[in-house]
Symmetry: D2
């Protein structure tokens, strides 16, 4: 079975594993207060051109999401998000478990617009009994989105402007940020994220690390005392250096040679090959994704033909006889596996 079902099926990229092995028996303080974490923080601040940002490392994305949201909001505030938002549909109510409601907006290809946010916030305050409703306190989006699509710099800039005008936070889930940064259509840099968002993270788990997300808090109110939040929610890794080491390994080098970008660029290119192969067969794509997730709508017989040899995700029937599926590449995807898949698609 060749797996295209997700981007967390393997271990870690070579530089990551090498770093862990090389330093294995060194002795360091725990809980992320070691030299490697400090170095990684400095590196991320430099890449973001955000010398005052707080950088903290968490083990996983669900943990990062609810820890940020819980730390940021007053008890009666909720978080605006697309109805496809990971926090709304795939995290077992982790945000609600911290007491906060997801306030969903209808997504367009997994994205929401600044106008939608502005309308929702204005509608709240226009309600004379607004204290009977959850108060919007933050916008949560992911980039790339759940459907692999990307916000443009213009869209993110406008979202940022509206959030600041409304006095609410903007938080970007970057679990797949590497695949976004490396995409051919992307026009957002880490510096843009740092300038436009109050909080965002560079996902490690899906982009070459064994595990780990590097959270950047640019808003001082979020940064203050944030380590308490991490500890309270079980996210403070005892051997915290493992997180710093991995991000140092992924973010070393220069420009396109930075492993985090080089690895994800290759995966995006592989995804484009898969997309093109389906397109050549006349398959519609449910979303126009320029990143590592592709969502073709396939005749059920093709699904059956492919799933003997490849694993991929079923997203549900879209019409009689056709199913929406997801193929996912990753930093670990091998060219020969893509070759095989492309050939098998062509032969359908």
């Amino acid at each position: 079975m060749i797996r295209f079902e997700c981007d967390y099926g393997e271990g870690a990229a070579a530089p990551v594993l090498e770093a862990l092995c090389r330093t294995n028996l060194e002795q360091t303080p725990g809980y992320g207060e070691d030299f490697y974490c400090e170095q990684a923080r400095d590196r991320i601040r430099a890449l973001c051109d955000a010398p005052d940002a707080e950088v903290q490392f968490l083990v996983g994305a669900t943990q990062a999401n609810f820890t940020v949201i819980d730390a940021a909001l007053k008890p009666w505030q909720g978080v605006l998000c697309p109805d496809s938002g990971h926090i709304h549909v795939h995290e077992t109510g982790a945000v609600e478990a911290t007491g906060h409601k997801c306030l969903t907006l209808p997504g367009h290809d997994g994205k929401i617009t600044a106008a939608q946010v502005q309308a929702a916030v204005e509608a709240h305050w226009a309600n004379p009994t607004h204290e009977h409703e959850v108060q919007p306190g933050m916008v949560y989006i992911s980039n790339p989105t759940e459907w692999g699509t990307l916000y443009t710099k213009s869209e993110l800039t406008e979202l940022s402007r509206v959030c600041r005008a409304c006095g609410i936070y903007l938080f970007v889930d970057g679990a797949r940020m590497g695949y976004g940064l490396a995409s051919q259509t992307n026009d957002l840099t880490l510096k843009d994220y740092a300038a436009l968002c109050d909080a965002f993270y560079l996902g490690g788990t899906k982009c070459g690390a064994l595990f780990g997300e590097a959270l950047v808090l640019t808003h001082p109110a979020l940064a203050k005392d944030f380590r308490y939040a991490i500890k309270q929610h079980g996210g403070m890794l005892a051997k915290g250096r493992l997180l710093g080491l991995q991000f140092l390994a992924l973010l070393g080098g220069d420009g396109e040679a930075i492993p985090y970008l080089a690895l994800t660029k290759k995966a995006d290119a592989q995804a484009m090959r898969i997309r093109d192969a389906f397109a050549a067969k006349g398959c519609a794509m449910a979303y126009d994704s320029p990143t590592n997730q592709q969502f073709p709508i396939l005749p059920d017989v093709w699904v059956q033909a492919l799933e003997g040899k490849y694993s991929f995700s079923h997203m549900g029937a879209v019409e009689p006889g056709h199913t929406l599926v997801r193929f996912c590449t990753s930093w670990a995807t091998r060219d020969e596996d893509v070759d095989a898949l492309v050939a098998d698609i062509a032969a359908l």
Copy 2:
């Protein structure tokens, strides 16, 4: 600086790291539903002689503690624990953040007795307005305790009997369980834990793994739907196999050759050497610990003399001129470092 300040200062024991490297590019399903996790579960069930137990892997101990407690208790129930309990003093109120109160009992060398538990539960129900109080729903202890001491089989049996008679759960935090199982004075086996407790875990983080705790749920009511609890609290590692692999590596082999026991046995022996060195100098030990943590009370001048070369933990002044400190060995402690310390103690 030679570090004796904690047991999580290094990476992982050799078999663990070898397993991670060997399997790095294999493709497996995520979230702990892979072959390695299944094997590790079977191995643990066999070691515990508990074929029906649910075994789940979590990343860290704080996470394991509050996830179990939150899943087990009704909203108005609290958890009885010693006043030195890790959940009460060192986890940033993680248990309270899930809505539950720590109901402390005065500890004796970090332990509480069955009689204390019985008295507390009876006092609750004897109160005619008991619904104005938090209802005891669970006993939480750690073994070894925060002070390195151990419950005997007789003590744990009695605690178990009282808990069952009172209709409350018994949960054992085993963050340092390896050091307990390997201690010369220990008379508890994994089978005993499985027979006597409703939930307990074998700590990996402090006993040779990079990270990870293996949770054993023997009570069916706790086992049901527990994976939702893990996911909701951010504890479901995407690359879950990393946890299964590590426990497989630590728990392989037979008898005393099982790395988990061999590594901790050596650390306990090293701790005994340190204890004897202090004893030979006439130092009192605050607690009579047969495990890897030692708590000597030292003249401040000795503290100053040692801390140029060694790192260890200050626990506070106990009388003018004397300080309680902690020296901690681990699976990674080198004999030459213990040799040096013992010699330096003798020379004080």
Copy 3:
């Protein structure tokens, strides 16, 4: 200003106020453990033909809703409800503040169907990674609904059957239950509610009491230790007898002479007069409500004409030049005020 904006604008019905004044200086135990509360519990159990039901009194409906939901659900469970559900839109995220997610289903005139519930529960369990989603644990509906509509006995029976088949609770918010029971189209009795639901309440606040909701818990698992939940959530009134006394006053007498039914029957009849007056003018009603809330869609000029003399609720523009409004009668509505309104409508 004549107020038709809500059903909680006045104090209490005469028998309620009389009972409070008559007993004012009596001395009783607190917290609902007095003789009057016991009598009221017995009365409600008798009316419900549910001798084993637990009856508890709470101060208000929001409190009743989240206290029941929090007591009933495991931490990872959520509550299925119509998208117009009061818990979802008008309670400031009170349910989420206890850690539970509202799982909305599209409502039809404020109602959801057994088929929708069954489909949602089946879809959850059919998802191979269902532990990444919130597990449905309860159905919450209100009857009358937010739009004044009523579930029929057949609909509630079917909902009950599906909930039991799915192993989830059925909870009915009866904040306006009196107006439902007294409606001409109603075919549900208190005995039916007790037989079909796991929990429901008879609203007092909107049906003649100063405040208070009488909660009936027919499922033993919900009844157990429920008073802890009330106290923990701040709902245990010190002078609890005030609640028992009010329900005794409202539920005394026989058949249609029971004040709770007689008062609401009159209010429903007044609402029908208002509905007919609008219908005679050709106004569409947004919902076909047989109870005390009426939702006509009015030309904006008519809205302006009426609002100088009457207060009523604006629910939003439905099309250019037309607004959806709500007129609400109550146990306290005076016939002369309805006369005036009806005449003014006719004169529009």
Copy 4:
């Protein structure tokens, strides 16, 4: 049975009941946004000489406590309180249910000192791993305390000074504030409370109202959006005017003629008569209370002799043959009942 067991055994003082009856059929807006609540707010602000304070009304004291604490604290903050604090021992973990830990300090006659608070806060920040502990964010005390004792103006001033220096809130539970203000030894005024505290409330439930607590928020950060917190926690009474009306009735008039003070002054005087009666018999008082609660330590035979005719609270055995009991007077206590008790004590 003559009841001295609590101060919430009767209904409401005459002016309160009269106001409720007089206004019963008036129509007002709901949720505390009516004219009576506005008047009551103004009256309280004037009495407190705090024109900018936010005043909100809640139904009961437990609700007031956890609503303020939850609104004030960050998720990782806890509340310092005496170990006898009502929030710690008599509220079913309501504070923990909102996610916050009670950080107890040993009380002296139910009081804690500024020095204790300062030491606790300093110890927290001195801990190099303070993010592993709950951060103190507020001091909660009650005045009168659980044992009827009173903080002096000097003590409260010092607590206030330390709290401000430490950057934490000071919150005073005034469930029995009337009995404190009216006590002969009291030197604190409402203006002092407003000047020294960030939040406090004037208890109505125990001081002449049917129910209700008037919360004064002097710190702007607490006042902002506080009505959301009330609604979310189920404390926003639909017929909110009932709260405003009651406080208007209790706080009308001038000086000692203000019912709130006149009623409680009489109750305090009655309590002094009971205290003196016990003292004349040589009974020790467990606490030196100048307010309406008295805590004599009685021989068990005396307890048995009195409890046939009087109800009072057993607080537990203090030594073989002696029991600590509580006698409580209230605004409703009749002089003839005190006469009888005093005579019966003298005859023991």
